[in-house]
Symmetry: D2
Subunit: 354 residues, 4 copies
Amino acid sequence: MAGNTFGTVFKLTTFGESHGPAIGGIIDGCPAGLQLDLEAVQQEMQRRKPGQSAIVTQRKEADTVNFLSGIFEGVTTGTPIGFTIANSDQKSKDYSHLKEAYRPSHADFSYDKKYGLRDYRGGGRSSARETACRVVAGAIAKQLLKDITITAYVSSVGEINLDKAYSDLDFSQIEQNPVRTADAEMAKTMEAYIREVRKEGDTVGGCISCVVQNVPAGWGEPVFDKLHAQLGKAMLSINAVKGFEYGSGFLSTTMKGSKHNDSFVADGSTKTNYSGGIQGGISNGADIYFKVAFKPVATLMQKQQTINTKGEEVELEGKGRHDPCVVPRAVPIVEAMTAMVLTDFWLLNKLSKI
Amino acid sequence: MAGNTFGTVFKLTTFGESHGPAIGGIIDGCPAGLQLDLEAVQQEMQRRKPGQSAIVTQRKEADTVNFLSGIFEGVTTGTPIGFTIANSDQKSKDYSHLKEAYRPSHADFSYDKKYGLRDYRGGGRSSARETACRVVAGAIAKQLLKDITITAYVSSVGEINLDKAYSDLDFSQIEQNPVRTADAEMAKTMEAYIREVRKEGDTVGGCISCVVQNVPAGWGEPVFDKLHAQLGKAMLSINAVKGFEYGSGFLSTTMKGSKHNDSFVADGSTKTNYSGGIQGGISNGADIYFKVAFKPVATLMQKQQTINTKGEEVELEGKGRHDPCVVPRAVPIVEAMTAMVLTDFWLLNKLSKI
Amino acid sequence: MAGNTFGTVFKLTTFGESHGPAIGGIIDGCPAGLQLDLEAVQQEMQRRKPGQSAIVTQRKEADTVNFLSGIFEGVTTGTPIGFTIANSDQKSKDYSHLKEAYRPSHADFSYDKKYGLRDYRGGGRSSARETACRVVAGAIAKQLLKDITITAYVSSVGEINLDKAYSDLDFSQIEQNPVRTADAEMAKTMEAYIREVRKEGDTVGGCISCVVQNVPAGWGEPVFDKLHAQLGKAMLSINAVKGFEYGSGFLSTTMKGSKHNDSFVADGSTKTNYSGGIQGGISNGADIYFKVAFKPVATLMQKQQTINTKGEEVELEGKGRHDPCVVPRAVPIVEAMTAMVLTDFWLLNKLSKI
Amino acid sequence: MAGNTFGTVFKLTTFGESHGPAIGGIIDGCPAGLQLDLEAVQQEMQRRKPGQSAIVTQRKEADTVNFLSGIFEGVTTGTPIGFTIANSDQKSKDYSHLKEAYRPSHADFSYDKKYGLRDYRGGGRSSARETACRVVAGAIAKQLLKDITITAYVSSVGEINLDKAYSDLDFSQIEQNPVRTADAEMAKTMEAYIREVRKEGDTVGGCISCVVQNVPAGWGEPVFDKLHAQLGKAMLSINAVKGFEYGSGFLSTTMKGSKHNDSFVADGSTKTNYSGGIQGGISNGADIYFKVAFKPVATLMQKQQTINTKGEEVELEGKGRHDPCVVPRAVPIVEAMTAMVLTDFWLLNKLSKI
């Protein structure tokens, strides 16, 4: 109950600080009989990995997943899948200046208040390094969801906004540019802006949009565990996320019902899809789509005033290698959490009727 | 696991369809020794109740909570608090025309796909009537949280937006107007607009903002059960909600880190509060604030085209008594869910250190 | 997490004190589409009911189950099944003498220590009245398990022991005698003994054996949630239970492996069944059988010395109407808990492989 | 939900097959601020380890616990404690003869039926090797429970029964003999018998008794999560366990209430302790004691007839190095599970009243 487990029947429990020997996790509830494509898992890790392009952090981490159980002769056995990922590039010395200081808009202060102590090296448990474990579980979940496609992309960086419906975008562009946006021109503009921000030692936020196609009708549980409520929790649990909306989202608040209602047509589909593929918390067979807001990374390469554990004012300057904008690397994380949520509801839905 | 339980150690499990004999729930994990103010509970019920003003549905429901256990001589005993709320104004006949039809943007279609059948009377389990049980549990949670104040208010109706920081608002206004907004002038504009929309037989969406004050630092659990992730799930589980943001929310995506970071001052507080009182998923002692987006109610008093269970096109016209705008009545629901989330984290935080 | 929920995906949450207005519960996770035989549910209630024969308590309780949700036109809808059972024969006055006194071997003292207060009327939450709710959920579970037969019977009362293998018993006898044992002669001996004990104002313990037939191989989850571990927890959670053994049980500790091992024969069955139908925590298709030990009821119709809440010695004499021997009425409770455990594992097993 | 997690707020999740690269686990919910004695953890591992004496299996496993997170500068941080234990002595070749055969009274057959495949090497997930992870978590739990002493010992081997009340035993003897019984003379008899059984290539069962002292009144949760119900589940989840009884256990079934009731004396303690320190599922401050039945180990060093996956009869002979009697090595496992259950209820009880 201490918050390190996600899921109901397909469950990921993770452990690990950014600067301990390793992070890792246990996936419990993966059905037996899945021929695992381990290369595909590692490929997802590469998408999240630091150092993959000029606009993300230049830390070097191999991020090789070390599977320890639950797979026999390449096939899942139904028993828990344990795994570790070594923290190869720890450089604990980089963080000694943080022992006493509370970095602004980081978790240093709140962890200290909660636990009475903290592993101050690189954020410890609150480091986004933890999300690597989510990508492992998400990559396995994607393989379970075969026919379903989950596509996330960067839809804004700062005020640069890819203002098009997802149906007008070319998803094949996403992995062709370092920003992971779905438009070649926009990618250049965004990339140039991130480079500029990085030069200033500053950071900037952005949005990720995600589209899920081919989800059958009937997934999601009513009342408290609505499909979009669990998706929202999944996204909001990712480091730096400040908001979530699905379907028509915040824009729906300005609309009238007569316009917003999605009329059914004879085959059970709808003319419009303001509902975002979910009605009453349960998928209706239409595309599920949602948007996730990421704040600017809190670690700056600039001097900042802050306080230390004694309440004294101190000056702090970011060291090490950080992301000027987190959204390009967060794309596979958004997809991973989506895949986990859907796998859970796919399994739960097997129990909905006799 | 079928989605009808909310919370980890302070848990609400609910049951009930809108047109069965009663709805109800069980609150498990309420600590013993709380002198319950039952009138205060009923008062919260009145705030949610239909028929309380001219701009909400005119259904008549007594909504009297019938406590069955867990309270002895006015004090909680630590054992589960069971309660029922009779469905006094059922009028099942009103809904016979829905037996075969799938109402647009309702849960009729998706429930049928999931369960193979549904209680078609008034939405059954997917009816917002279910939220009455949340208000009961929230009202008890509020009493456990004594020193903490939770204030929700309507911050927009359609495109009419109360565009002020919460610190510039007069919260004492909220219960003085039927819209439950925190500004007397704005209340009139919003009310007039809702009356107009109702005359058209139409509906409109809106936003609710919520501010929580006096939460100590240290509440919330890291990684998957971050305070804002659980708040987000709580809000997104409320009927008609399409989006959630906390602190700087979606606006943060356009900001640079140098501006967005909340600098600490000597007493441990921060100069700004873009973080919305939560850092790394754990409260930092500052005000927690967030915004929730509600779509326009799907039931219209207009003719709509839709299909029936055989896939044939049929015409549908809303009958009965419905809300032209859901946000005024959703204010106590937002507060109730907030209180439940906070009570859960208050209790869990007692376990964080030895 | 306060202990009032049982099950993982087929879940029962209960509430209620023996002397409040009602007890009740919520069954969440019952699949949709089950045509419920409500008379069969009520029939199980009759088997547990006080006053059904001369050798059980003469309290009069109608024990009529009042279903409030989750069933539409006689069929389960997949939504939670809420129900209440009125406490019609409360006689709270009977218990006023217990306000200050701690009854020996009851839960009065430990509840007071845990909660700082208690509902002293008739045991409150610790009363065996709570088990009525288990019988409701168990009766529904039995209907889900169609082809599986669950047969419990009294196998000993005091030192009178029905020392026969279950395969040598005539199960059709069980409901023919008030003791619910599976042998007509033995029933008379046991009944005479219980009458004698009652005349003394005393009580006596006994054992219930249970046999489950036609469970397919593969039910149960490995490691912590082994089928027999969950069965054991289920039984030990019933009031007055002091022990549980399955298959060869305690006797196995005296045996050698060469004798105890169950040899497989060509069709996958085994020559012997010391394993009790469970290997590695998972059913193997053979009969599951186990035994449950019940202590003598703690409420005597004799004078007893005890202390009050101030630590003063006081004399206590049982009033009201109590069971001299609990096992005849506990037979349907054992069956109910068994049915719930099996239903849970039946559903979970749907998720074990792709 | 696939059965690999134990506990409610102090939770252990484990993974690992006996012949994979490593087993391991995650302890979530360990409060921050515990100065961990890692040597004491390793000492518990030694007590469970193979090869520690002549009467247990001669497999060689270092069983060194490799902690990966949750501990900083020797102190628990409140974040999850991840750990692995390498499988250093795998010898997978020893098990190739089991690829097709179903060993009698093992989990081979039932796993195959459940999952459609299995890791046949040495029992895979169903191997008792898994219990090493329980000992790690239990050793940490013991350190959290400071003032509470948990003492388990072998009370019978085959028909050799240490027939004394625990209060008449000398617990300091337990670690002085390889059988781990609490009587020097009895130890010799038991050891001689185990050696004899081993010579025959056979195995034998036995019982472990456990006494817990200094548990305050108030631990345990009512109804389904009674202290003894959770202890029972914990014990029954250990490999080879067939029965559990606490306090007066099965013997209570032969007693009358007038004898069995534990009379209170002025200080709140009781004259007798047939209740085994638990009343209504909640500790009453008296010693908690219980007994656990272990069947004879199923792997024999004799020829046995069995079937293979095609249903053909085959002959099987145990290879490798196995325990002739499991109880000496199971003593620390019983203590570990006890410690975990108590830690969980200690934490939960912090939430029982305001």
